[in-house]
């Protein structure tokens, strides 16, 4: 009996396939928007949270916590000020502090951020669920003086694959964003000492070097310009006295961008934060990464809500169109309803028929949209990973997405009560004699 209804509904829907197909496409579009947004959102959040693991505090120059967190952990935006190594060493000597890793940012390698730090980085930094960093090949760079005449670098997984680099290769870093071709540190080529395993965090997209290498790259630079500035076309300034010929020295910079701090006990984190931010000779900001991230999400979630709302509205509009299509078809189908009635179909059977028809269209739209979203996000995910470091969620369908889709389907089901009820009324009013 119910299989008869389904077969009839399917055949009847096929009969009006063009208008229904348009409605199915609209429902599919809305589903795709909803699911893709959710997938990217979840991927983004998961990726961000993974990068935080293990770091209790991020310490930088006085600035907005979100900015300190974004620039230090995610290499987004540019820090306004540096913090002196001396101040950081003071913090590192506090009894509550388990470890402190300084980080200096600002250079890039072909668009990928360069992170200058020390070997403690590989010892203490954790990703995901407290996973330590693992070398896919080679080893960490060495602190201190250059090895065999060259400084060394460790590459994140994405950097290595994207530029086809391996241990032993020689690379040249650029100052700043690297957009201006002239400002490259080609006087200080760097040897790749190792490559890290993928972590699904911004570390994959970064090039790690020692603080000494960072300092050597910038030796003699003034005001963000290299000592050779006189060679730049259009500038007639004389080159400063050359320090270039001096062999690279193992000097550490005076100041860095920020530091990652791990405590012996998490419970001390607020205490430490207050202590670090206490007014002193150098105004500092200590950021709880999780708190700053929550703050960021609060801002971003407005945009996300808007996107989700758009998807839902598209869905509702599509469902409205679907119902209108079915309603408009009913007048023309009064004959058909009378025939089914004469065959012994109960009015509630015809009610079910109309519900089944709109449900088929609705479900088809949702399945197509889901497929489009899985396919689309799947195709885009390598691009998203290398360019934005967004790891798109690999889960097929999360609870949240399922709930949204159920909402779309439920709204469709609810709305189809109207034409179904109308079909039943027509059936009862017409009996076996509908108007010709």
């Amino acid at each position: 009996m119910s299989s008869v209804i389904l077969r009839l509904a399917w055949a009847s829907a096929l009969n009006r396939r063009l208008p229904l197909a348009l409605m199915v496409a609209a429902i599919a579009l809305s589903t795709a928007i909803l699911v893709s947004t959710e997938r990217l959102r979840e991927g983004l959040r998961a990726g961000f949270s993974e990068a935080l693991s293990g770091t209790d505090l991020v310490v930088g120059a006085r600035s907005h916590p979100v900015q300190v967190m974004l620039s230090t952990l995610f290499h987004l935006g540019h820090p306004a000020q540096n913090v002196s190594l001396a101040a950081l060493e003071g913090i590192a000597s506090l009894p509550q502090v388990k470890w402190l890793v300084p980080v200096a940012l600002g250079d890039t390698y072909r668009g990928m951020p360069v992170v200058a730090t020390n070997t403690d980085y590989f010892r203490w930094v954790r990703t995901g669920e407290s996973r330590p960093l693992v070398f896919a090949q080679g080893r960490a760079f060495s602190d201190g003086p250059p090895q065999e005449g060259r400084f060394e670098a460790v590459l994140g997984a994405t950097v290595a694959t994207r530029f086809a680099l391996k241990r032993g290769d020689i690379i040249t870093l650029a100052h700043g964003s690297g957009a201006i071709g002239e400002l490259v540190h080609d006087d200080q080529p760097i040897r790749v000492a190792g490559v890290l395993d993928g972590t699904g965090t911004p570390i994959d997209r970064s090039v790690l070097i020692s603080l000494e290498a960072f300092e050597a790259l910038h030796a003699g630079w003034v005001g963000g310009l290299p000592p050779r500035v006189g060679q730049l076309p259009g500038l007639r300034q004389a080159a400063p006295p050359s320090t270039m010929s001096a062999p690279p020295e193992a000097r550490r910079p005076v100041s860095v961008t920020a530091a990652l701090v791990g405590l012996h006990s998490r419970a001390q984190v607020f205490n430490m934060q207050r202590q670090i931010e206490r007014p002193g000779p150098e105004p500092l900001t200590a950021v709880l990464p999780g708190v700053a991230l929550d703050e960021l999400w609060r801002v971003i979630s407005r945009g996300e809500d808007l996107l989700r709302l758009t998807g839902l509205l598209v869905g509702l509009t599509a469902i409205g169109g679907l119902i209108a299509t079915i309603l408009a078809g009913l007048e023309a189908r009064r004959r058909e309803l009378a025939v089914l009635r004469a065959l012994g179909a109960a009015p509630r059977t015809l009610f079910a028929l109309v519900i089944a028809e709109s449900s088929i269209a609705n479900a088809l739209g949702i399945v197509l949209g889901l497929a489009a979203s899985v396919l689309g996000v799947g195709l885009l995910s390598p691009w998203l990973r290398t360019n934005f470091g967004i790891e798109s969620s690999s889960t097929w369908l999360t609870m949240q997405q399922g709930a949204l889709l159920a909402l779309v389907f439920g709204a469709g089901l609810l709305a189809s009560l109207l034409p179904a009820w109308r079909a039943m009324r027509l059936t009862l009013a017409d009996g076996l004699a509908p108007p010709h």
């Binding site: 009996m1 009378a338 065959l343 012994g344």
Partner: protein, 240 residues
């Protein structure tokens, strides 16, 4: 003859809700099992209304209409629908078919809402499709047209398919509402001949409504519904 008559009408009065005037008054009318009856009457005499009453789609305002001894008014709506599916095959004047379905599928649909008719069709022919082919053969629709969609069949072909659909699973009664009015004379004669033979073969009673007097010789019994001005009607008068 054993068992109750297929149809038994007693002191029937019918008027549409919220309208006082009776559309139909019929004091006594019976259809015996396997009987074939021609129901005549001018337009507006309530023939279609009577068919709806016999099929249990409309209910008598007063009096009784019984199908196989069971009054339509005394059973629940769902039971009415099931009994209609089980015992009655219906042929409309025209537009009988679901236009997007093939002829075969339209015929199979005739037993879709009835377990007993499905069982009978399966018992006789092994599969619904075979039963449908058999019914179409009896109604003399060429096999080349069986897979044609309803909307693409000619009016004459559509009526044959509709009759085959009414016949499948051997219901007790076939109600046909002017099934030949859209057919020209040779088509009409061929259709009636096939329908009578097929319903005899299936053992169904047949009540055929028509104002076409040329059909009278084919029927053992002719019944006329008389119309009076003002909507009141007298009972059925045997024509001969």
């Amino acid at each position: 003859m054993s068992g109750p008559p297929v149809i038994e009408v007693e002191a029937l009065r019918f008027h549409y809700p919220r309208r006082a005037a009776s559309v139909l008054e019929l004091d006594r009318f019976e259809i015996a099992a396997g009987e074939r009856i021609l129901l005549a009457g001018g337009s507006g005499s309530g023939k279609s209304t009577l068919l709806s009453l016999l099929a249990g789609v409309l209910l008598a305002s007063y009096g009784a209409v019984r199908l196989l001894g069971c009054d339509w008014r005394e059973i629940a709506p769902a039971t009415r629908d099931r009994r209609r599916a089980d015992h009655i095959g219906y042929v409309f004047q025209q537009f009988n078919l679901l236009g997007w379905m093939t002829a075969i599928d339209n015929v199979v649909l005739g037993s879709a809402f009835s377990e007993s008719r499905t069982a009978r069709a399966l018992g006789g022919w092994g599969s619904l499709e075979r039963a449908a082919r058999e019914a179409l053969e009896r109604m003399q629709l060429p096999a080349s047209r069986w897979q044609t969609r309803g909307a693409e069949l000619s009016v004459g072909e559509q009526q044959r398919v509709a009759a085959a659909r009414a016949l499948i699973g051997r219901p007790d009664l076939i109600l046909a509402d002017e099934p030949t009015s859209a057919l020209d004379e040779p088509l009409r004669d061929a259709f009636i001949e096939a329908l009578l033979a097929a319903s005899d073969e299936a053992g169904c009673a047949l009540l055929l409504v028509s104002h076409d007097r040329a059909l009278e010789p084919c029927f053992a019994r002719c019944v006329r519904l008389n119309t009076h001005s003002g909507g009141s009607a007298s009972g059925a008068v045997p024509a001969r």
